[in-house]
């Protein structure tokens, strides 16, 4: 931190956390960092502004933003395979409430015609809230 200087022990820990979050977390070669084992893998850790967050499996996203569907290297290789599968993976296994209908209460049948996401994804119902 440049404008605030820590005085007590807690402030030094706080400053450390702030400075770490400001430092560029991604090295030139991401594989090196993974090998070094000194940092959790964080989704879409592309830009220096991204703070090191909690451990999230490769391929998931922590943000709600159309067009995010790239992995942390900017490609698609690290995403869920096949790509259609991640609808259900994210829906059931991850935290993705905003994009999918409420299957428990409001729309229990919205995926009824979709036995296999890869083949039937076009049959998924459109749900209007």
């Amino acid at each position: 931190m440049k404008h605030l200087s820590p005085v007590n022990e807690k402030a030094r820990r706080l400053a450390q956390a702030v400075d770490q979050s400001a430092a560029p977390p991604v090295p030139e070669n991401p594989a090196t960092a993974a090998d070094a084992g000194d940092r959790d893998v964080v989704a879409l850790q592309q830009t220096p502004q991204q703070p090191p967050g909690p451990h999230i499996p490769l391929g998931c996203s922590t943000i709600f933003s159309p067009g995010w569907e790239v992995d942390r290297t900017g490609g698609t290789a690290g995403l869920c395979q096949p790509v259609e599968r991640d609808l259900f993976d994210c829906h059931f296994g991850c935290y993705w409430p905003a994009q999918v209908p409420d299957q428990l209460n409001h729309a229990p049948d919205w995926t009824k015609k979709c036995a296999s996401a890869q083949k039937d994804w076009r049959k998924i119902d459109v749900i209007f809230p």
Partner: protein
């Protein structure tokens, strides 16, 4: 457009430098001119980025202001208006079993003095001591069972504190309990140390020898020079105790050099002369430290504080605290322990979910072996957490911790002093407000005033003699002496 407002923090100034004390993190940060200007601006009302830049125009580059606001946002010294405030602190209970660090053993409920303000005997007492269910004296068996309990529940080290009534009335139990505790601790490979609180009236050479030999931390309850001591600290016939205790204290201090000996003063509405008390206890009697605590009493008792009383004491505390600062800057010892304790917590950045360790790290044991929140509640059925024989009732303990978490004290949510106060003493709350769950709203101004003073002193020492603060590094988990 998002607007910036003040965050959850307290701004203070010390030695010409501006500082921030953040809640709930309890971090102390020095503030530079630009961040000071930004803080001033948001303190005057919500500011958009454009407002800020306009206000600071010409003085700082735009990128610099953005960078500074970014830092202030990250440490939450400013926040974005209309975003919901984060919860004060998540209500996370410690993992159980929680190691017991201090056990306060009430070896007797009897006392040879009858101080009118005493919480054990006075009008505000919780436990029926005269004809109650609890025995008047702790037996040697119960003391041994208590020590087994302490060593069972403790981590690698344990503090055992003897308390009363007047502790030394039951010296017989101390004499057998201490060697037993040492032997048991050694067999288990644990550290144990001892302390006691006494009114000093019964001290004999033999006792002094015993206390020195076993390296007891000794706290003497005393109210100051003769006229003040004799006002409340009297025998049953009304005679003052000063002449009896003064020579005994001097003898104790002369012989027992292995651990510092402290005085613990109860301030009442009639004995508010902090500096005179301090000078007398330090210079005439030779104490190493003096700590002051306002009497715990329901309003209206003759000895209870008035509003002006609190203000007066705060002014006297501030005055004496400045002496502490001067001594610290010069690298000298000063015995005003209220400052030392607060500085240690500020230095560490303590941010408390509970006001003290009562109910988990510290437990009180009654004469009959009941385990309670602390010594002040020992023997009270309403505040019982088990017995030394059956152990701690974990369900009751968990319920207690959940119920008393700072997150439940809605009154405290916006207070910047909550990291250190956390609502204050349970016993005080019980006496003043009828329940341990209530925050002590009657002394909020006092706590904030005192914390602000200590923050200033901390800032001044950090500038003038930072080496002094190393004393507090990795601040000890030494148990505070119960009062």
């Amino acid at each position: 457009m998002s607007l910036l407002t003040s965050g959850d923090c307290h701004a203070f100034e010390a030695g010409g430098q501006r500082y921030l004390y953040l809640a709930p993190s309890a971090a102390v940060l020095a503030v530079d001119d630009l961040s000071g200007a930004v803080l001033d601006a948001v303190a005057s009302g919500p500011q958009s980025r454009a407002d800020l830049l306009a206000g600071l125009s010409g003085r700082y580059a735009e990128s610099e202001v953005d960078e500074c606001v970014g830092e202030l946002l990250k440490v939450r010294a400013v926040s974005i208006a209309a975003t919901p405030a984060p919860r004060t602190s998540p209500r996370i209970l410690p993992l159980t079993p929680i190691p017991l660090s201090t056990m306060v053993l009430n070896v007797t409920s009897q006392c040879n003095l009858s101080c009118a303000y005493c919480y054990e005997y006075g009008e505000d007492k919780i436990v029926e001591t005269a004809n109650g269910r609890q025995p008047k004296w702790m037996s040697e068996d119960t003391a041994r069972e208590s020590i087994d309990f302490l060593l069972r529940e403790s981590g690698s080290s344990a503090h055992l504190t003897f308390f009363g009534g007047e502790t030394l009335l039951n010296f017989k139990v101390l004499r057998t309990a201490v060697p037993y505790a040492k032997a048991q601790a050694a067999a288990l490979g644990k550290q144990i140390d001892f302390s006691l609180t006494t009114n000093a009236t019964l001290l004999t050479d033999e006792m002094i020898e015993f206390l020195a030999e076993h390296r007891f931390g000794v706290t003497i309850s005393i109210d100051g020079p003769k006229d003040l001591q004799n006002k409340f600290r009297v025998f049953h016939n009304g005679a003052g105790s000063y002449d009896m205790v003064a020579p005994k204290i001097k003898a104790l201090i002369a012989r027992h050099r292995s651990r510092p000996i402290g005085a613990r003063v109860t301030l009442t509405r009639d004995t508010l002369d902090v500096r005179r008390i301090y000078d007398h206890l330090m210079n005439e009697l030779g104490f190493h430290e003096v700590g002051f605590a306002p009497v715990t009493a329901t309003p209206g008792r003759v000895h209870a504080f008035s509003e002006e009383g609190f203000e007066h004491v705060l002014a006297e505390f501030r005055d004496l605290a400045r002496d502490y600062r001067d001594a610290a800057v010069a690298g000298r010892h000063h015995g005003f322990s209220n400052v030392r304790e607060t500085l240690a917590e500020i230095h560490k950045g303590a941010s408390k979910a509970w006001p003290c360790g009562a109910g988990f790290g510290l437990l009180g044991v009654s004469t009959g072996g009941d385990v309670a929140l602390c010594h002040r509640f020992a023997g009270s059925d309403d505040h019982k957490l088990g017995t030394v024989r059956d152990g701690i009732n974990r369900d009751a303990q968990r319920a207690f911790l959940d119920e008393h978490h700072i997150d439940r004290k809605t009154d405290c949510r916006t207070c910047w002093a909550r990291p250190l106060c956390a609502g204050g003493c349970y016993h005080e709350a019980h006496t003043r407000h009828g329940s341990t769950v209530r925050p002590n709203l009657h002394y909020c101004e006092w706590v904030r005033g005192w914390t602000d003073t200590c923050l200033q002193i901390y800032g001044e020492i950090a500038q003038a003699n930072p080496a002094f603060l190393r004393e507090f590094d990795g601040a000890s988990d030494e148990a505070p002496q119960p009062s």
